[in-house]
């Protein structure tokens, strides 16, 4: 059978297929590279990078929940200089696109990272204004429409690469936030980041996470993510990268039908180190089963 055309376009960058890891769940690809041929992924999305090294939150940073997990990593990262030195050359040795997720505590820090990265050999930037695990920056930027537009616009001034804005699901009206990001100049939107959650150890009578609260991800959140992708796709024109609980190609197809041009696989990597590649193959299988020649034919093709 003929292989379907899996190419998709995010902000002018062509990916060989729509599948990438979700930021923060895949390091910079080194570890999962032992299980997955990185050349076969549409892109590698690296963990959140800030201007200076961040230590992140105290441990425990993870709690398992029903069909999901909470994390409170808090954007631990070695800072942009070490990242540029060590990880970009590693990733460039593969035939895949590089998407760098950027973090900041202030608008200035986001801009500084974008500016520094603008001269580096990377393909796309992803602006994380939705991390629930940091006090400053993160989710506080992502839940107010004016701030979303403002920070997007500012970062856009420095970014040479196309800019994805990553949205938080912890909002009353995701469409309003999405429109604000697009108004600020976002070339693409990715959603969802984690839902804010909490788990309590009833025997110790304290939260499982040292940080108290954390971000909920995994299959449990998928219905919320699909709904938000659907709503946003009805309202904006830019391509959407859908994520939240994708573990199989079938899950990915759900997001694509809802309106996602590409998809990211996060928590599923922890359940199955080959998850990203399995999703690529299963999407292909679905397209072949229904004799669909080009994946673009099914983007946003859910009929209501």
């Amino acid at each position: 059978m003929m292989k379907p055309n899996m190419k998709v376009n995010i902000g002018g960058v062509e990916l060989k297929n729509p599948v990438m890891p979700a930021s923060g769940t895949f390091g910079s690809g080194r570890e999962y590279g032992e299980f997955v041929d990185l050349n076969k992924l549409g892109a590698v999305v690296v963990k959140g990078i800030s201007s200076t090294p961040w230590k992140g939150n105290p441990t425990p940073r993870v709690a398992e929940t029903y069909g999901g997990m909470l994390n409170s990593v808090g954007l631990q990262n070695p800072g942009m200089e070490e990242f540029i030195e060590k990880d970009i050359p590693f990733l460039r040795s593969y035939d895949t696109k590089i998407i760098v997720n950027i973090s900041g505590k202030t608008v200035e820090e986001y801009c500084a990272v974008a500016e520094r990265l603008s001269s580096e050999d990377i393909d796309i930037l992803e602006l994380n204004i939705s991390c629930p695990n940091v006090k400053e920056g993160g989710v506080t930027f992502g839940t107010d429409r004016r701030m979303v537009e403002h920070v997007t616009k500012e970062v856009k001034r420095y970014a040479k690469q196309p800019l994805i804005v990553k949205l938080s699901p912890n909002v009353t009206d995701i469409v309003e936030i999405a429109k604000a990001a697009v108004a600020g100049g976002a070339d693409s939107l990715s959603l969802i980041n984690t839902l804010i959650g909490m788990a309590i150890d009833i025997h110790k009578r304290k939260p499982v996470l040292a940080n108290g609260i954390g971000g909920l991800s995994g299959p449990a959140v998928k219905p919320v993510a699909v709904r938000m992708v659907y709503q946003v796709a009805q309202a904006v024109e830019v391509p959407i990268i859908g994520m939240g609980g994708i573990t199989t190609g079938e899950d990915a197809i759900e997001f694509i039908l809802a309106g996602a041009t590409a998809v990211a696989v996060g928590t599923a990597n922890f359940m199955n180190p080959r998850a990203t590649l399995d999703v690529v193959e299963e999407i292909e299988g679905y397209l072949q089963q229904y004799n669909i020649k080009n994946i673009k034919e099914i983007v946003k093709k859910v009929c209501i």
């Binding site: 923060g24 769940t25 895949f26 390091g27 080194r30 570890e31 999962y32 032992e34 299980f35 963990k47 230590k55 992140g56 105290p58 441990t59 425990p60 940073r61 993870v62 709690a63 398992e64 029903y66 069909g67 999901g68 997990m69 994390n71 990593v73 631990q76 995994g218 299959p219 928590t267 990597n269 922890f270 359940m271 199955n272 180190p273 080959r274």
Partner: protein
């Protein structure tokens, strides 16, 4: 090289109250296994998504089998205990750095506590020189006779006094005041901290195997960190990849 395998279970039995022994077949993991490394077991019950890290207790390179000893502490380990002989278990491994097995001779002091005891069994099989083993348990000690097969001195402390010294293993060590060249230890955090301090007083190098809640188990997600001393400042290292074995000087106890 890590492997993701569906391994056939050869044994999965309760050997002591709430303590299970599992033996599974895997050539790849058997060949690359090493004392102090661990494997990830997956529950595959739909509800529990994250793998359960369990240390390698013994490796039989001839028969390609791996032996684990695990305690039932929650839903995941309970699920795993329900697997039957002949079933397949999803395993990722071997993971982590393992102990540094000194090439030279000398005196090894090996100290285990509770469910931290099993990984030391494979270790003592690899150690050169002379080895003294101290094991502490709350009650129901395990593996003592097996340790005796490989080492001359095995001292046991139980908190309920049912076997050996009544009390904890650190008291026993302080009583004995053993002379040695290096320390290896695995057990609960408070014990490791005390062992680390004792080793420092004695000016002995010590390798301590830590535990932390994990997700990926391979170093990608940064959830399993422990505070360590970096070049200038303290830093978070990954227990799954940079550990689980750390030298006593590295670890910063909270």
């Amino acid at each position: 090289m890590m492997n993701m395998v569906k391994a056939k279970i050869m044994k999965n039995e309760e050997i002591s109250p709430q303590i299970y022994e599992m033996i599974f077949l895997s050539k790849e993991i058997g060949e690359q296994g090493f004392p102090g490394k661990f494997v990830n077991l997956y529950c595959e019950d739909g509800r529990h998504l994250l793998p359960r890290p369990i240390s390698i207790c013994e490796i039989d390179k001839n028969n390609h089998t791996i032996r684990l000893i695990y305690a039932i502490v929650g839903e995941g380990t309970k699920q795993i205990s329900h697997l039957r002989v002949g079933d397949k278990v999803k395993v990722l491994g071997p993971l982590g750095n393992g102990f540094t097995v000194e090439k030279g001779n000398g005196k090894n002091i090996v100290i285990g506590g509770g469910i931290g005891v099993p990984p030391l069994l494979e270790l003592v099989k690899h150690l050169k020189g002379s080895t003294t083993v101290y094991l502490g348990f709350r009650c129901n000690p395990i593996l003592i006779e097996e340790f005796k097969k490989y080492v001359d001195y095995v001292y046991v402390a139980t908190e309920d006094g049912s076997y050996g010294h009544k009390g904890n293993v650190l008291e026993l060590i302080k009583q004995h005041n053993p002379i040695g060249d290096r320390v290896y230890s695995c057990g609960p955090k408070p014990m490791l901290k005390a062992i680390g301090e004792w080793a420092k007083e004695q000016d002995l190098p010590a390798e301590l195997s830590l535990e932390e809640r994990m997700a990926c188990g391979i170093g990608a997600c940064l959830v399993c960190t422990c505070k360590t001393q970096g070049k200038e400042d303290w830093e978070y290292k990954r227990v799954c990849k940079d550990g689980p074995v750390f030298s006593r000087d590295e670890v910063i106890w909270e």
